[in-house]
Symmetry: C2
Subunit: 188 residues, 2 copies
DNA sequence: CGCGCGATTGAGTAATTTCAAATCTAGTGG
DNA sequence: CCACTAGATTTGAAATTACTCAATCGCGCG
């Protein structure tokens, strides 16, 4: 069941009793989205943080010229949101839509705060989640600063071997910050 | 005093009593470094997280060709470490050294965990700190993906107006991911 | 069969880097 | 106060990388 998947995920970091997990789970809602459906749209409020149970979503920013830049490609066991919108209550600037049919367990900002306030372990869990998120983001900044297109692509293939079968090269290019034509020309 | 500065900083997010703050403060050690001195060196363990009381440090990665890429320029009221080394115990891959004489309040990984375990409010504080850190990192990723050199420089000047007087353009260039020659040629 | 979409290829252009040299500037010692 | 030096910044010209726009290819599916 979907909740088991969340439970396994949480248990990689903390150990919850059945009651503790059920308490935590009660703050989440289960959601289903179809391929190409939007989960978050720029301009809307984005008060939910989502845990991917099944599927893949892409989180992206579209600039004034209509060019799209992908911030995250989130598959099973990843969390996503528009962090700025989620944490500040401001309108979303990102779009999130589904690359495959997707199921999530989602939690509102208020519920997340209530959950953290009521469960020491879950606050610890989310703190640790953010530290790993920080490490990943910093790694990506470093890659963008120091690696050329070919090296970034190689590193990406290494880091996410299971993703590249499920995602078009056009999207990978947009994640890496190059055009699809350039990605296509890379010799590796 | 240095601790007052930390206290003010913490109070932007949570409210601590005198005793609570003194308890928290007891986990930190005060440190002084001179300009050009290393605080963290690649290869060493980096078990401390640092809060800047005074001064500026740069956190950077040096690749096999000797090129340096700046991950962070941390001034007063910023936190820095080698996040990967700090959280995993692995040897540091980053160098951190002082651009000015610098004073920090520093906390070890173990002490940070003890502090969080003993103080609900401080665990909340660090969780919130990481969420804002995530937002900032994501903003930087987006800037690297979507903006050219000139736009990144403009955005940086806007975002950190007080920093550019204290930092050489060579370092700013390295932070922005361009050569100093390119930065020098930008018309803005 | 033919449409539609993603991937590739080609040619010209724009942005950035590289390497080298010239210029500027702040601090030091005479 | 001035000359001098080290470091930072700027400028120049050629080379490289990546982008743009356009055309072609490949393939699954109705």
């Amino acid at each position: 069941m979907e909740l088991d998947f969340l439970r396994t995920h949480i248990h990689q970091i903390i150990c919850l009793t059945d009651e503790e997990f059920e308490h935590a789970a009660s703050f989440f809602t289960r959601r289903k989205y179809k391929k190409h459906q939007y989960i978050i749209q720029a301009g809307d409020v984005a008060s939910q943080e989502h845990f991917v149970v099944k599927g893949i979503v892409k989180s992206s920013y579209t600039d004034h010229e209509g060019k799209e830049y992908i911030l995250q490609l989130a598959m099973e066991e990843w969390w996503f949101s528009d962090p700025n919108a989620f944490n500040t209550g401001m309108p979303a600037t990102l779009n999130v839509d589904c690359i495959e049919d997707t199921e999530t367990l989602s939690i509102s900002f208020d519920n997340k705060e209530k959950l953290c306030a009521s469960s020491r372990k879950m606050e610890y869990f989310f703190r640790k989640k953010y530290t790993t998120g920080n490490m990943a983001l910093q790694k990506r900044v470093l890659a963008l600063l120091s690696n050329n297109a070919s090296e970034r692509y190689k590193q990406w293939l290494n880091q996410y071997p299971s993703l590249h079968k499920r995602i078009s090269k056009t999207l990978i290019a947009s994640y890496l910050g190059v055009t699809r034509e350039t990605l296509s020309r890379l010799s590796l």
